[in-house]
């Protein structure tokens, strides 16, 4: 791992002009002249000492009133060295054009389209720069500060977007007619609202394009309109298969920005519930994937375990699914008295269910025929697309945020990062199965260490004071009032918080202007990067394979479209 100074020195040496280092910050941050961007991008990727192979995120930001109003922000990560940097490219409002880095990292494909959709940044050289989240009848760029949040534009039937190629009649070399069909957006195998348009030659897919945004519910705009604490319920609804992980990721990022830390007990409970959520998420992913392939039984088995975990979350937070349990600086309240026994019961309950499921599936002839060699992607290619999480590990790259850049004390736990090498649908299944076992192992160790103690820090400019103090002490009452009415004052600055979500690196890029509300929150959704490779992987497969591949990605529309 190169230190901050080494990275800075290396970049300074190669780029004496056009690249400026910003002081401080959580990551080495460079302001890059747009003329230098492409050359710098190539250098960052190809220089063996830097080796930034993963483009984690591209997003826009609007600083209204500044001369160079917009900014494109890039977050890069090096899997081999384990270091990160941030690039910022400012552009003017009257000329919001900058070069596309699609030619360097293919991951930029959808991220740049999103920045175009939300801010109107134009990426020169992008192969398909059009709206991605908003519908085609939409006017304006919603994340610009001067866009009124409630301003809607209606889409009528017949105005939906269609790939250009889908309208053109096309005859194959052997003069058989091909046909274009729609999978989704309302389709039993899409688990939500994804739409894939495919051209079929017989049963073979020869061309495919994916349309997303059917669940774009404006998380980032809503976040700018609410106080730091009020954003927490919105985060639950990002990846709604494992809501706890999203809340933890958000609060860790805000805590990093505010320079506070949750007490040890809160950290441990966060970790335990995160791992339980990961199990829940994998269970749904595996179960739904099998369900789509025609195996209903495992889903019914696995859902029992999920119901048990629900009841634990309900006992802790009051809600089953969207629990809003995490707070900046700790947790909303302490866990119930029988928490440890209840979790231990889960630990005993899940393995037999997993074993039953594995007996039915792992060596099942039909299942293996339908998944082995289907949807293969090589590790380097997956990384180029911005993949993270179990899908990347199934292609042989052992990148797990919990190991690479631990948080919540993951470095003190004994667990393994399962990987597979074949990179196909079966590999993604088997990696998830093993991750469930590793998560159980982590929870077991965490339960041993659980000690009584406070569950929220006493930095009351950010965290609410306990209710009993609010009723008895003047100062606590004032803090309570200010926090509820104005929101916490998080110091101005920016931060990129990253956690291992159930399907990959879940990043929050947060900008604060020192006020009670976030200035900008950008979520780096893991399945967004994974799903953008999907249409490219489909070509040459059959329609039935497309269902198997999609199920193995665990694409959650709430997180994908936000």
């Amino acid at each position: 791992m190169a230190t901050r100074d080494e990275i800075v020195a290396s970049i300074r040496k190669a780029f004496p002009e056009g690249v400026r280092l910003l002081d401080g910050g959580d990551l080495p941050t460079f302001v890059v002249d747009r003329a230098e961007l492409l050359r710098l991008a190539r250098h960052l990727k190809d220089d063996p000492g830097l080796d930034f192979k993963l483009l984690a995120d591209v997003c826009g930001a609007d600083y209204a009133g500044r001369e160079e109003r917009f900014e494109a922000v890039y977050h890069l990560y090096s899997v081999t060295h384990g270091h990160r940097i941030r690039l910022k490219v400012p552009v003017r409002e009257d000329d919001p054009v900058l070069p596309s880095v699609y030619g360097v990292w293919r991951a930029a494909d959808w991220f740049e389209r999103e920045a175009f959709d939300m801010f109107g940044l134009r990426f020169d050289g992008h192969p398909n720069l059009k709206r991605i989240l908003c519908h085609p009848a939409f006017v304006g760029h919603p994340l610009r500060k001067d866009y009124e949040p409630g301003q809607r534009w209606l889409l009528r039937e017949g105005e939906q977007d269609e790939p250009v190629w889908a309208r053109q009649p096309h005859e194959d070399d052997d003069h058989f007619e091909t046909q274009v069909i729609n999978l989704g957006p309302s389709h039993p195998a899409t688990h939500g609202t994804l739409r894939t348009v495919v051209r079929l030659d017989g049963e073979i897919i020869t061309q495919a394009e994916v349309e997303i945004g059917y669940l774009h519910r404006c998380f980032e705009k809503m976040a700018e309109r609410h106080t730091w604490k009020q954003v927490i319920p919105y985060t639950d609804r990002l990846n709604y298969c494992s809501p706890m992980i999203n809340g933890v990721g958000y609060c860790l990022a805000v805590e990093k920005l505010a320079g506070i830390e949750a007490p040890p007990r809160a950290q441990l409970i966060r970790l335990i519930l995160s791992e339980l959520s990961r199990i829940m998420d994998h269970i749904v992913c595996i179960g739904a994937n099998l369900n789509d392939l025609g195996a209903m039984t495992p889903f019914l088995y696995m859902y029992k375990a999920r119901e048990e975990i629900y009841s634990i979350l309900e006992a802790c937070a009051g809600g089953r699914l969207t629990i809003s349990y995490v707070r900046v600086g700790g947790l909303a309240n302490d866990v119930p008295g029988d928490f440890v026994e209840a979790v231990r019961w889960i630990l005993r309950r899940v393995p037999p269910l997993m074993n039953d499921m594995e007996k039915l599936i792992t060596r099942n002839r039909i299942f293996r025929d339908r998944t082995e060699g289907v949807g293969v992607i090589a590790g380097a290619e997956a990384l180029d697309w911005g993949w993270t999480g179990p899908c990347l590990r199934a292609s042989g790259i052992p990148y797990d945020v919990r190991k690479a850049q631990p948080y919540l004390g993951y470095e003190t736990f004994d667990f393994k990062v399962p990987i597979a090498t074949t990179g196909d649908t079966f590999a993604r299944y088997i990696v998830r199965v093993e991750e469930v076992r590793q998560s159980l192992h982590i929870i077991e160790q965490a339960l041993e260490r659980l000690q009584p103690g406070p569950i929220i820090c006493d930095e009351h400019h950010v965290a609410l004071p306990p209710k009993e103090q609010v009723y008895t002490e003047m100062e606590a009452l004032i803090w309570h009032f200010k926090l509820i009415m104005e929101g916490a004052r998080i110091p101005a600055g920016e931060v990129y918080g990253f956690t291992e979500g159930a399907n990959g690196e879940l990043g929050y890029y947060i900008v604060s202007d020192g006020g009670g509300k976030p200035y900008r929150i950008k979520v780096r959704p893991p399945c967004f990067a994974i799903f953008q490779a999907y249409p490219h992987m489909l070509v040459g497969h059959m329609v039935s394979d497309s269902v198997a591949i999609l199920g193995s990605f665990n694409v959650i529309a709430g997180e994908l479209d936000r």
């Binding site: 949040p149 059917y214 519910r217 705009k221 089953r320 969207t322």
Partner: protein, 194 residues
């Protein structure tokens, strides 16, 4: 079974109309209206179309699974084709991009059809008062039962389905009221001609 559906009148009537006999030999009649009989059949065999878009769809899965098991209430057969289903359960946020799809699916369903709006988003847009979110699906399609919650608990959805069954029994759903109004208008028209 409500008294409106079936009225059982013991005794009375001529020998030829006797439908059944009690053990003591007295006669039993079963008289009802065809509509009521059909409604009874319909409400006890609802075929849901899960229009699941977001978090509520996950809770809808819980409702279908063994723990809560919607099939206990006669609505087991989930169909993903609007042609084969009569109950549209809109579970989750509907965006402006999705709205034409929802309308198309509703139109494709054969009558009689009923709609349950599951969750705050489908009912009112929920806490997404924003530029891309439909503020309640009743902007576009008629809704029979609104189930509140974010997401509603499985019990709440079960209650919603049972409530819909009661409404069908009483003839209170949107479809039935429309049909009744159309019939009344037709009768009124006939009277006017006479």
């Amino acid at each position: 079974m409500t008294s409106r559906d079936l009225s059982i009148s013991p005794g009375g009537g001529s020998e030829e109309r006797a439908a059944a006999r009690r053990p003591d030999g007295s006669q039993v009649f079963l008289t009802t209206k065809l509509d009521a009989l059909l409604d009874m059949a319909r409400r006890n065999s609802l075929w849901p179309f899960p229009f699941g878009t977001a978090c509520c769809a996950i809770e809808f899965m819980s409702v279908m699974m063994s723990h809560y098991d919607l099939s206990r209430f006669g609505a087991e057969v989930v169909r993903f084709s609007p042609r084969q289903s009569d109950l549209l359960i809109v579970a989750g946020t509907v965006t402006d991009k999705m709205a034409p799809v929802l309308v198309r699916i509703y139109e494709q369903m054969a009558e009689p059809k009923y709609v349950i709006s599951m969750g705050a988003c489908a009912c009112t847009g929920g806490f997404y008062r924003a530029y891309h979110v439909v503020q309640g699906i009743d902007e576009f399609i008629p809704v029979d039962v609104y189930v509140p919650g974010c997401p509603p608990t499985p019990e709440a959805l079960l209650k919603g389905v049972v409530h819909l069954q009661e409404m069908i029994g009483k003839g209170e759903t949107h479809y039935q009221r429309q049909l009744a109004a159309a019939r009344a208008a037709a009768r009124g028209g006939a009277d006017g001609n006479a």
